[in-house]
Amino acid sequence: MASMEIDSEKTHERKQSDYTCLDERFEIQKEMYRGQQYSQIYFARLHLMRTLLYSLAPSWKPHLPVCKVLGLEEGKECIIVGTLFKHMKLKPCVLDEYSKERSVTPLVKPRNFMHPDDSLILEDESGRVKLGGSALSPAVYVTGVVVALHGKETSAGEFVVEDVLEAGLPPQLERPLDHLKEDKYVLLVSGLSIGSNSSNPLLFQLLVDHITGHVADDEELGLAAQIVHVVIAGNSVEFPRKLLTGQNMASKDQSTLYEPIKELDIMLNQIAAGVSVDIMPGLNDPANFALPQQPLNRCLFPGSAPYNTFRSCTNPHSFDVDNIRFLGTSGQNIDDLDKYSEAESKLDFVERTLRWRHLAPTAPNTLGCYPFTDRDPFLIETCPHVYFVGNQDKYDNRLVKGSEGQLVRLICIPKFCETGVAVAVNLRNLECHTRSFNIQL
């Protein structure tokens, strides 16, 4: 795509790259709901992870036998594999509404439901056992993680844990060293929140102008030409919720409700005309609530949908650009982990999900999820090269090295409406930097 140049002789052409979308595992078209319960997805998760952990156990502790929960004997040291359940005192329960005591329920819900008395329980299809010992910290783990534990059962019926084995980073596809001679960037942005009080349309317009190359500075034009792909990771619109009262809406209100999407469509049209763009649904977007969120309907984007560079994607989203594997979500999985466990930074949560090989371990316990019967699509089977999470409070990134030479760049994308920051990832060396936009009127 040649950009319009007025003064300089050099024309900048946008770099090209190969793109493959890998969202098939997150799509729900073929599934049919037959009244099944969530036990099916937990079974699929346990079975697949257990097969994996059984293969890793011999190299971890070769001399110990592996047994089921029901096969535990007192004093016998062994390895058990199962799903963790964290019993949390402060976790909101629907039955609290019906409790006889009717004690004072706080009007303001705490942001984090942890409590020092939280305990962990390991469960497999034969039974469950309470976990003790100090090797396993309830603050780090959440319900739904499948681990292997080394320990022994006490006379009290508790399983004292001596060591924990997590699945670890999955195998990664080889990234050919320096296969790219030039810098190519993928731009990640999230939390545009068009239509909200805090978003400034001028800020997003600046971003669009930067991407499409409508800038005066030659150097910036060069930067813009190096962007090969744009991903919008969720929460692109915010609807005026006060209009949704449950009553019939006046036609004037109906058109007001639709304004943010129309504005988004106009902007996406401008971007799609110049570069390939993926849009993912987020918590506030007009998509389904339960993960995996299905792609936003093409009818919402009448202007952008005809472009073949425009792609509406699922959340979580997985794709390949020039053989670099990207995997990302709009943030719901990490926000949920933040509510039920603690860490020093959000990147710790992101790294933990990668080491547990599961994008959203709290689904379906506290995170809405579709009741799959035969698979768990959130299991991470191949290690991505870039793992991004959208709608976070601030920008952060980390390079994680795996035991088998895997290299992953973890990125927390901040909310654009609050920070004006978009993240650019260099495909050549997996480095990333921010591009920030600021308007001071």
Binding site: R34, G35, Q36, Q37, S39, Q40, F43, A44, H47, L48, T51, E125, S126, T373, D374
Partner: protein, 156 residues
């Protein structure tokens, strides 16, 4: 009373494939029987089958159809009491060794929870997850007329 005991055995031996519904014809040999033994002779394959088809009691149907019977009141009572005993054993209707094998498949913990899935789907899931489920089950489910839903479907 010995005659009614023989009736019970006859009932239990009925397989599902023999159930033809309410309409049935008697065999010619039963016509020459005296009324006292009408109950035993009349209990050929077709008539009890009418009573136990899918757990529903079709006494009225059989009374209407069996015009050639010389029903005395006691015989009618025998048949009704047999049918009532059968109704308590709802599960036994058409419960044969094929269904028994499928129920064992349902209850097998290794293949995961059975509620909410058809048996065929559960078998295919077991196959995909590498559990090597017995091929006999697949053959039964796909080629023969057996219950496709699991044991607890609609009950829990």
């Amino acid at each position: 009373m010995a005659t009614t005991a023989k009736n019970m055995k006859g009932f239990y031996k009925q397989t599902k494939s023999n159930i033809t519904g309410g309409i049935s014809k008697s065999k010619p040999s039963s016509r020459k029987v005296s009324p006292k033994h009408a109950a035993t002779q009349g209990s050929d394959a077709t008539q009890p089958a009418a009573l136990i088809s899918h757990g529903s009691l079709d006494v009225k149907g059989t009374l209407l159809l069996r015009k050639d019977y010389n029903f005395s009141f006691s015989i009618v009572m025998c048949l009704i009491s047999n049918a009532l005993v059968l109704m308590e054993f709802n599960d036994c209707n058409g419960y044969d060794e094929k269904e028994e094998m499928l129920r064992q498949f349902d209850m097998n913990m290794a293949y995961g929870p059975c509620v909410g899935m058809t048996r065929v789907d559960r078998w295919e899931r077991a196959l995909r997850l590498g559990m090597n489920p017995p091929n006999e089950i697949e053959r039964l489910l796909k080629t023969e007329k057996v219950q496709q839903d699991c044991l607890w479907q609609g009950r829990v």
